[in-house]
């Protein structure tokens, strides 16, 4: 039966190519639709836990004067605080070993908590995302953005100032505003990975990275992520856990998520909201959750036309497949029947032919996707392919097979084999 299916496929190769192209387009649309849905859900799922059902406040674009996490945690009724971090550690994009000290191009090192590191893994163009283990010997693991000058495997020196004593007023550099002596302390980080352009990064805002100007009027879960691209600030990020033994300062930056205790009263909630407004734009968890769900549902609804398009494409290609040479194909099935095949042998033969067409369609879809990816057409869009995409494409194949078997099936049900043979005499 496989032999006859393959023969059937080869005999109608041009029409099968035409059908395969239609199916390939359906595969690409389906993959894009699933990727689109997943990208929304994949970004929402990691941050859901930061906005539990209770009360809380979310501060966007916090000012430099914002209180540290530890200070906020000491406030009554505050359950937990989390954010991305800026530090008093510095590196130079132009000098790996800081042999000439920090220049004017110094950049601060950023940090993320272990929880944030584990919650979301961005797309990496090389290497791996930050490990949750401690430092490798003396080397602190770090990741950088693609627009930095560093690559995976590089060892980069970072530096910070530590107070080592007080200066005397007689000292040449004495400054009444800052009467301390400092010593520059160096540490080394190992670049374990590079964050890909176009990736999302949890814990920092796009405004902080400089890739977007302002936050939305109704922020949602997307605002917890920064769009990483070559036009934004370069970043070097380390785990906060690896900075425990380094006497540096860690400041919240970008966004701060303040979860309040369950029993906080409405009056106290208002008080805290007013207090935090001095440090950035403040939003209620409830509004945040609602905005997030409104956005996700809106995106899912937008996918409906895409899915309709896919279904229409599949129906058209399937009907084309079964209509092509239907008389000739039925004639052939009649001949097989004469020679001792069962009447439903056509199902197996058509199935092999349809599967071959689906394989060809998959190959065409892969080629088209690669061409689109290599060209500028896709921009920074990253489309992945996983189990859900495969299931979506398999559904298309099954729908195609069922519909393409429909027309010959209907004809065969309505006519006896003898009548089919007579039609083709």
């Amino acid at each position: 039966m496989i032999k006859y299916g393959l023969k059937e496929f080869a005999r109608n190769i041009y029409s099968n190519i035409f059908i395969a192209v239609q199916l390939a387009i359906a595969f690409i649309i389906m993959t894009a639709a699933v990727s689109s849905v997943l990208s929304r859900i994949e970004m929402y799922t990691p941050v859901k836990k930061y906005f539990p059902d209770g009360k809380g406040l979310y501060i966007c674009n916090i000012y430099d004067t914002a209180p540290l996490d530890s200070e906020l945690k000491n406030i009554d009724d505050v359950e937990s605080v989390t954010s991305g971090y800026d530090t008093s550690l510095y590196y130079s994009p132009s000098s790996k070993d800081l042999s000439n000290g920090l220049g004017d191009d110094r950049m601060s090192v950023n940090a993320l908590s272990e929880d944030m590191i584990k919650s979301f893994t961005p797309q990496m163009s090389s290497g791996k995302w930050l490990p949750n283990a401690s430092a490798n010997g003396d080397l602190i693991p770090a990741v950088v953005t693609e627009n930095s000058n560093y690559k995976t495997g590089d060892i980069v020196t970072i530096m910070h100032k530590e107070k080592v004593g007080e200066m005397s007023p007689d000292d040449e550099d004495f400054d009444y505003a800052d009467p301390y002596k400092y010593e520059y302390v160096k540490n080394k980080v190992e670049i374990v990975g590079v964050i890909a352009d176009g990736s999302q990064l949890l814990g920092f805002s796009s405004a902080y990275l400089g890739t977007e100007d302002s936050i939305k009027e109704k922020p949602d879960f997307r605002d917890l992520y920064a769009n990483v691209n070559k036009h934004g600030n370069m970043m070097l990020i380390v785990p906060t856990d690896c900075l425990k033994d380094i006497n540096c300062k860690i400041y919240p930056c970008g966004n701060q998520i303040v979860t309040l205790k369950d029993n906080v009263s409405n009056e106290r909630f208002k008080e805290l909201e007013l207090y935090l407004r001095d440090y950035g734009r403040v939003f209620d968890f409830e509004d945040f959750r609602e905005n997030s769900l409104v956005y996700i549902n809106g995106q899912l609804i937008k996918l409906v036309p895409m899915l309709i398009c896919v279904i229409v494409l599949v129906i058209v290609s399937s009907v084309s497949a079964s209509a092509v040479n239907i008389k000739k194909r039925l004639g052939d099935y009649g001949i097989y029947y004469l020679c001792g095949a069962k009447w439903n042998a056509y199902i197996k033969i058509d199935l092999v032919c349809d599967l071959m067409t689906a394989v060809m369609a998959a190959a065409i879809a892969v080629c088209i996707s690669n061409v689109l990816t290599m060209s500028e057409f896709m921009g920074n869009t990253v489309i992945s392919f996983g189990w859900l995409h495969l299931i979506g494409c398999v559904c298309i194949v099954i729908l195609n097979i069922l519909i393409s078997l429909l027309i010959p099936g209907v004809i065969m049900r309505r006519n006896t084999p003898n009548e089919i043979l007579m039609i083709n005499e």
Binding site: L338, W343, T416, N418, L421, E425
Partner: protein, 220 residues
Amino acid sequence: MIKLDKIIKIYNPKKANEYEALHGVSCEISDGEMVAIIGKSGAGKSTLLHILACIDSYQSGEYTIDGTLVKNLSEGQYAQIRNEKIGIVMQDFALVEDFSALENVLIPLDFAKKKIKNKKEKALEALKAVGMGDLSKKPCNKLSGGQKQRVAIARAIVNEPAMILADEPTGALDTKTSAEIMELFKRLNKEGKTVVIVTHDPKVAEQCSRVIEVSDGKII
């Protein structure tokens, strides 16, 4: 031995255009006979042959092949009869035109229920038996009418069935080619095969050992 006993065949039963094509037809065909079924157009001879070939059903009566009742069998059993016990030759050759002669003859071997070894060799032998051994690789759409009918006969005999049924096998052929084809059938009959030929041509009927005449759905 084939036995038909009071076979009634109705087309479109219980519909407005219901039509009784065979009215209680009975006959017997012994092993090794060469029988012609003749009659005018619409008499029911092709209907009779199609029932013999298990490609059409009947409403009542009994059709037995070597004592086995051919009725209410499963589709698989009907397919096995068509594959192993009967070889069918049609007027329009019923070949897959895109296939070569060899590929057409392989069809019954490919659809056989039991595994067959050396299929290609068997198919080539059948083609040689009908004088088409040298043209095995030629596509059927490049063959003449006579050559096509030879390929059809090769396909009909490749599984070594006991009975060959032919529906107007010379209907589309010229006189000379028709004679060649009839010689083939006679040779197959001499080799022991039962041959039943439906024809409207009296010259074809003359070459058979027995003639069954069908008229208005009855054997006369």
